[in-house]
């Protein structure tokens, strides 16, 4: 059977005119592209029709992907305050922040990044999640740098929602109180220029000798094992551990800077947090049992085998870390998002079979402990493999 039979088109009946039209079109498009006629300059605005097509395709694409997204609690102060710090450092340059106008450089982008501090946009939280996590093609909007870290994306979404709702009216509690002005890196002796910059990136969220972390989603680093801190920064630097917050600030750290920061934080005494978590006593008791004996039926190893006593300091010290932080990390392990490093893959095995409740309990137990500083007397036998 020939094509003309299938298409039921009698080519003989078509005039030569159509052939000519097609050839002219092909030729015209070829000349249009090859001659560089179309101006891609950001200084040249799009045609109205182009704008309409781009915006419609974009919004339909976002809507199609955000409809199934389950939105967590975005009034959560911990999320908002953590998201604020990332926003100030990573987003404000293009999207602005109350009191600080968008950079003139960013204003000359096409499309110009929307001013989120003076918001008029029709996106809801789920749309923002999709945009921040996945980025937008043909705009300057990047995808989230930490693969699998939806938990981090939600913090930034929470802050953007706060901006949308309040217009950034009371920025003191959310941004400034927690911000770098209050956190100077007290106790850090004579930082050199590069170190001071690196340190300012740490203290913004993790606090310093005098201030606790900005949010309960952020781990306190004071008195953490130096071996563990060093390994963590190295793993963020080489991408074996994923985080949209930590990878950008670790990417350019030199070994010298890492050592300085590790010395600084591991030497600090724990700072009392202003907003302590108050888990129930029963939950702590259940967590204590898991920490001591594990859950053999679910092949969950006892935490205390690696995170207590004389265990290698390559394993992080988790006594006194926040419940929300610990539970979040266990959830990452359970979902297989913290398996990039040789140490992470060990932990993933134990976290894999834990239930939500067990994660909450064991995190509550460790959050209720005070950090035992005597463990720093030794260094670790297990060397880092980086």
């Amino acid at each position: 059977m020939r094509i003309r039979d299938i298409l039921k088109v009698d080519f003989d009946q078509l005039g030569n005119e159509i052939v000519v039209v097609i050839l002219v079109l092909i030729g015209g498009i070829t000349i249009f592209v090859w001659a560089g006629y179309y101006n891609v300059a950001a200084s040249e605005k799009h045609l109205g029709i182009t704008n309409w097509i781009l915006a419609t395709v974009r919004d339909q694409s976002i809507a199609a992907r955000s409809s199934e997204i389950e939105v967590p609690d975005l009034k959560d102060r911990d999320r908002i305050r953590l998201g604020a710090q990332h926003y100030v450092a990573g987003c404000a340059f293009c999207h602005g922040i109350p009191g600080e106008p968008i950079s003139p450089i960013a204003q000359r982008m096409l499309p110009a990044p929307p001013d989120l501090a003076n918001p008029v946009n029709e996106y809801d939280a789920a749309d923002h999640f999709i945009i921040i996590r996945s980025g937008l093609k043909y705009t300057g909007m990047p995808a989230w740098p930490g693969v699998g870290r939806d938990d981090e994306v939600w913090s930034v979404v929470a802050f953007v929602e706060w901006l949308q709702d309040t217009g950034g009216a009371d920025r003191r509690d959310v941004i400034d109180d927690a911000g770098p002005e209050q956190r100077t890196g007290g106790g850090y002796t004579n930082p050199e220029a590069g170190e001071a910059y690196a340190l300012s990136n740490c203290v913004r969220c993790h606090g310093d000798a005098d201030t606790a972390p900005v949010s309960r989603l952020v781990p306190a680093l004071s008195s953490q094992s130096p071996d563990y801190l060093r390994r963590s920064l190295q793993e963020y630097r080489n991408g074996r551990r994923q985080s949209g917050f930590m990878q950008p600030v670790s990417a350019n750290l030199t070994d010298g800077e890492i050592n300085q920061l590790v010395d600084y934080y591991s030497g600090l005494a724990p700072v009392e947090t202003t907003s302590p978590e108050m888990p129930e006593a029963a939950s702590i008791a259940r967590g204590r049992a898991i920490a001591a004996a594990g859950i053999p039926k679910q092949e969950v190893a006892p935490c205390s085998s690696c995170h207590a006593g004389a265990a290698s300091l390559q394993y992080g010290i988790i006594d006194g870390l926040g419940q929300r932080y610990l539970a979040g990390q266990l959830d990452l392990w359970r979902k297989g998002h913290r398996t990039g490093s040789d140490f992470g893959i060990i932990m993933a095995r134990s976290a894999a079979n834990m239930t939500d409740e067990q994660i909450r309990d064991v995190s509550a137990y460790y959050a209720s402990l005070t950090r035992d500083l005597s463990r720093f007397a030794r260094s670790s036998p297990a060397g880092a493999t980086e």
Binding site: S305, C306, A310, D342, A348, P381, T385
Partner: protein, 329 residues
Amino acid sequence: MRTTARRSAALPLLVIGGCSVEQSALHPTGAGAEQIYSLFWVMTIGGGLIFAAVLLCTLWAIYGGSGIRRTLSAEGMIYGAGVFFPAAVLSALLGYGLYLMQESAFASSPTGAPQIAVSGEMWWWRVQYRDAQGRSLESANEVHVPVGETVNLALTTKDVIHSFWAPQLAGKLDMIPGRTNMLSVTATKPGISRGQCAEYCGGAHALMSFVVVAHPADEYAQWLDGEAAPAKAPDTEREKLGQDLFLRSGCGACHAVRGTAAAGTIGPDLTHVGSRKSLGAATLNNDEASFKRWIVDNQHIKPENGMPPYRIFTEAELDALAAYLDGLA
């Protein structure tokens, strides 16, 4: 061309492999296996004779005269050879089979016999011994039995259906979730043989084997005493470093080494792992090199087994760990 050559070279190897004695039901060293061995020959020879008779009748019917055909199709022949004979033979075989099952069933074995609990776990065997004095101890991947004494095996599973099969010792019996299946075995000759999980239980099913060691009766008590003793303290500096690494790296979360702080119950007990005939449920030879390989690369040796790969050690640390584990005789 070369592949074909290699294949044809491999074929005799396969055949020879089938003749290997250590996991062969044709070389019984246990009471149950001997009965199965007899049953096998009764069945094979009896079946062969009947087959020959049927062939003979067929040839006879084709080439014989009409008289012979009439005889063969007579009513007496149809009822006799077609109904009564198979009914009698099959009933006799059924009786024989039921008798054999009864023989190896738990009920027939004396109470107070040493008891061994074997639990199938993906993909290894947890083995717990309880002797007449009520002493209980745990080991893995090896079943030690005394010659001439009936031993009761309590077979359970932690996860999916496994099947315990030591062909030289006895018949196979499934391990079914929620049940304890009892198997009585009596070794008749001292020696070492091999067993295998005989019910597909997941990806590494083929690597779920075990070793059966039949001790002369007087040596068994001695072996059990040794197995019940706590682990040997490390001798050399290297072994001491290995023990330190073992304890400080959290190995004790899953593995027990009796006499140390390591008391994990998730993975195999390693108290006397250095004295076992194999590693990884009869997957690797038991030597320092295998320990090193297993620690670092166990997910390639036995994919998806419960132990995560420990790539966190330096070469020197691995050497020390392997020396310590190999020294746990």
